[in-house]
């Protein structure tokens, strides 16, 4: 089946320029294609017509790399639940719909061009302790420390985060707490993360604040937008880890 849409896309040629919405007819679009394939088709047409194509980030196109993302009609990654933009298919839209397409916006995410933003702030947070400090070769035999199955599963629930930034874009405060909470939870739950638990929570939260991300206001927008369905339990666990470290540990 084919549908025709109106695309209102926010264009901005460089970080310092002023952005503006441009309106494009989609032309007849098969409902079997993905959202990004629709943008591909638009870009092919713009190229042939001599206009610069819309810059957007994407890579694996199977919902795991976390590269893609845009706000579609006010919702990061668009209307389908637990679905990245690359996995969103056009059958979710109807003939004649208007789609407003904008980049992920947050103070900590600098806009580079069109729909491309700089999410390196996430790397800077992970750098502060989103890992276990273990050199290659020094690991004990893998089954030395048993980990209860339900604990491993809960750790995996946090570890599934793809670092796309939709949580930040969805949050009225541009908070990164779902992202940070997911990593802190994964490593706090597993025995391997134990020794650095306090230091990690303090350092990552401090860096998050320093980079200009806001605070959680319990709106739960992040959870609703998360393409991996990461629960805000992880934010609660992060707060607990932070408090525990701030009050009970001797870490600075």
């Amino acid at each position: 089946m084919k549908i025709n849409l109106t695309l209102k896309i926010r264009r901005q040629s460089s970080p310092d320029e002023k952005g503006q919405f441009r309106t494009y007819p989609s032309g007849p679009i098969s409902t079997d294609i993905s959202f990004l394939e629709m943008l591909d088709i638009l870009n092919e047409r713009l190229t042939r017509e001599g206009e610069e194509p819309v810059a957007f980030d994407h890579d694996c196109r199977e919902g795991i790399c976390g590269t893609c993302g845009a706000v579609v009609n006010g919702i990061p990654h668009g209307p389908a639940k637990k679905t990245t933009l690359c996995q969103l298919h056009m059958r979710h839209f109807r003939e004649g719909d208007t789609l407003v397409i904008e980049p992920f916006r947050a103070r900590a995410f600098k806009l580079e061009k069109d729909l491309v933003v700089d999410r390196s702030a996430f790397d800077r947070i992970i750098r502060e302790g989103g890992y276990v400090s273990v050199n290659t070769g020094s690991a004990p035999e893998a089954n030395t420390i048993p980990v209860p199955q339900n604990i491993a599963e809960q750790a995996m629930n946090g570890a599934e985060c793809i670092g796309c930034g939709a949580c930040v874009a969805a949050c009225p405060n541009a908070s990164a707490m779902l992202f940070v909470g997911a990593k802190i939870s994964q490593l706090a739950l597993l025995p391997q993360g134990g020794p650095e638990r306090s230091r990690r929570a303090l350092a990552m939260v401090r860096k998050m604040d320093e980079l200009g991300f806001g605070n959680c206001g319990n709106e739960r927008e992040c959870e609703a937008a998360c393409p991996k369905g990461i629960s805000i339990r992880n934010i609660a666990r992060m707060n607990r880890e932070f408090l525990r470290a701030a009050i009970c540990s001797d870490e600075e």
């Binding site: 098969s30 294609i33 610069e52 795991i64 790399c65 992970i126 004990p140 570890a159």
Partner: protein, 636 residues
């Protein structure tokens, strides 16, 4: 070109130990004087960069993506093999080695593969210590499953996202070294040239993808961990940015390219639906455990699957291979799907798909049991196709997935260019002519965590630690070459887009150098590819400017390299007049239409040497098998 694999002496099981002892060391105090460039931040690149930094070397790490955590290793679903034998089911290092050699159809080096099996166990130890949340049993120990027809359960996994979890582990290790100031990460950088000084690798020229600026980076050694080249077929399971450019640039500077035609085609992917498809999605092989593959018996039968009675269906894998049936290896399953479609029995509008039917399994085990087993895969399928496999059969078709070929490396992972190393899928690897499931993650991490850090001293110890000056003439020359190529792409101002050329190249490769190859088709490709390349350089249109974020320009550079590289694949496929693993030459089949390997003439690695304005020269590394006698594969 001199090919010395430098396989250490001694019994197979002692070679790696002997070699590590015989290898040269750089003293800990001197390591900080050496700078190493690592291109790529996937499993191999990130693990190598982090480990070399832990040893004390200064590392510069480059990646295309906005952060190293997005490399395509992240998309690996199934798992990672190791010879732990936790299940006490008869596994051992020797068995993993044996299965890998046999699975590769006897086209890999015994010594390398044995080392891989030895190291596999320490990879699991390392990942667990990093906090990788592998699946566990109720007792708290690590869980295993069997994978890809293996007779032992040796695959470790983290739901369907094992690649993601292992990559994030390696990324964490890398970020830790960044924090400590030992690694500098350069995201959104594309390597455009390799720089050699006196015949040795000494640096790279990169393009900053945000600004378009060209940058020169000097080092004492260069490590390429830039992944596979499956996107030469345009449609593949690879990420959109996966490309051949880094290793192709290195090849043109003197690194031998091994077995380029060894391309693995995965049998269970979601079929192509139309012209504008950008990507093929893999559905886990585990589906074949319960799904039955079939096509209508009558060519051109376009009735919906549920209206085709049992008697008019051909369960061709069960019919032809009664012993293995739907569980035949990847290459056999892929080939047979193509054969059925070539007979006109393919289903869907395109005629390029076969059914994978769960009706019998649902009737046998109940809907609940099947949903529990495959629920997440069914959801993924439904998200993409809009159809529910519980109600109607899935449609599947083979797609390009993994490339066993790559830069030739010796036992130290060094290419034929001194100071240049290749890791992971970028090297010609340990998988021979066919890779087993759950072995890619194992190889990438073995290369990066354990092998390169132990062998790179052999080169660096004999190399002066004087800093390399990026202002040297060699750098300027390489930078000029890169700048000229980029400028040329922008000034053609023709009519056809990059994607248009890429799609046509993909069609040529898929039709003539895909699942099955023959002399006539390959020779045809040899005329079509240069003609398309010629048109590309006269009729391409690249919008936008050079000094800017310009994604069309990025793709144009990659497709330009694919257009050169494609010819080498075809040349290699023509030269290998046998069928082995993924490579089926239609002329080389048994009377029963099965693959016929020719050990007498082709028990070798084909290593291609680039020559300016001349056809590439073929060099051979002979393979001998002392531990596993080459046998014939049969699945009847």
């Amino acid at each position: 070109m001199k090919l010395d694999a430098k396989i250490p002496g001694g019994p197979l099981a002692e070679k790696w130990d002997n070699h590590r002892f015989a290898s040269k060391l750089v003293s800990p105090a001197n390591r900080r004087k050496y700078e190493i460039i690592v291109v790529g931040s996937g499993l191999a690149g990130a693990s190598a960069a982090a480990t070399l930094a832990e040893q004390g070397y200064r590392i510069k790490n480059f990646c295309l993506q906005d952060t190293p955590r997005r490399s395509h290793s992240i998309a690996a679903q199934g798992g990672i093999n190791a010879a732990k034998n936790y299940r006490n089911d008869g596994d051992s290092i020797f068995r993993l080695f044996h299965d890998t050699i046999k699975g590769g159809d006897f086209r890999a080096r015994e010594a390398n593969v044995y080392r891989l099996a030895q190291i596999s166990n320490r990879i699991i130890d390392q990942a667990v210590a990093q906090g990788v949340p592998f699946a566990r049993d109720y007792g708290g120990g690590l869980a295993n499953r069997s994978f890809g027809g293996a007779q032992v359960s040796r695959t470790f996994y983290a739901r369907g996202q094992t690649g993601q979890q292992l990559l994030l582990g390696a990324y964490g290790a890398l970020m830790r070294q960044v924090k400590m100031g030992k690694v500098e990460v350069f995201p959104r950088r594309e390597m455009l040239e390799l720089v050699t000084i006196g015949g040795e690798a000494r640096g790279i020229v990169t393009r900053n993808l945000l600004t378009g600026e060209l940058e020169n980076h000097a080092a004492h050694a260069v490590v390429l961990a830039t992944g596979g080249y499956g996107n030469v077929y345009c449609l593949s399971t690879n990420a959109m940015s996966s490309n051949v450019s880094a290793i192709w640039r290195a090849h043109k500077k003197g690194a031998g390219f091994a077995n380029p035609s060894f391309v693995q085609i995965h049998p269970t992917c979601i079929p192509v639906h139309g012209e504008h498809q950008s990507k093929l999605t893999l559905m886990s092989e585990s589906l074949r455990n319960d799904g039955r593959v079939w096509v209508p018996k009558t060519p051109g039968d376009k009735r919906p699957p549920n209206q085709i009675p049992e008697a008019e269906r051909d369960y061709y894998l069960e019919r032809k291979y009664p012993a293995f049936a739907n569980l035949v290896p990847r290459d056999v399953a892929s080939r047979n799907a193509k054969e059925q479609c070539d007979l006109g029995k393919g289903v869907t509008e395109t005629g390029l798909a076969v059914y994978l039917d769960f009706a019998a399994a649902i009737e046998r085990d109940g809907a609940e049991a099947i949903r529990k087993k495959y629920g997440n895969l069914f959801e993924m399928y439904e998200r993409i196709t809009g159809r529910d496999p519980m109600r109607e059969p899935m449609t599947i078709y083979p797609a390009v997935h993994y490339t066993m070929g790559g830069l030739w490396v010796d036992y130290d992972l060094m290419t034929t260019l001194p100071g240049l190393y290749a890791l992971g899928e970028a090297n010609f690897s340990d998988h021979g002519a066919n890779r087993l499931g759950a072995s890619a993650l194992m190889q990438g991490l073995a290369d990066g965590y354990f092998i390169l850090p132990a062998t790179i001293g052999n080169y660096l110890a004999g190399t002066s630690s004087e800093p390399v000056d990026p202002g040297r003439e060699e750098f300027k020359q390489a930078e000029r070459a890169a700048a000229e190529r980029t400028a040329r792409l922008l000034t053609i101002k023709g009519k056809r887009t990059v994607d248009d050329f890429h799609r046509e190249l993909g069609r040529i490769m898929w039709d003539h150098c895909g699942i099955a190859r023959n002399c006539e088709g390959l020779e045809k490709a040899q005329t079509l590819i240069p003609a398309l390349r010629e048109e590309f350089w006269h009729n391409l249109v690249v919008p936008g400017r050079g000094p800017d974020l310009n994604q069309s320009l990025e793709r144009a550079g990659r497709v330009a390299d694919f257009l050169e590289f494609a010819e080498l694949i075809v040349e290699d496929a023509l030269a290998r007049e046998e069928s082995c693993g993924c490579h089926l030459r239609e002329e080389c089949r048994t009377e029963e239409h099965e693959a016929r390997r020719d050990d007498e003439h082709f028990s070798h690695v084909a290593v291609w040497e680039h020559r300016q304005n001349e056809r590439p020269r073929l060099n051979l590394e002979h393979l001998s098998f002392e531990q596993v006698a080459p046998g014939r594969r049969s699945y009847k």
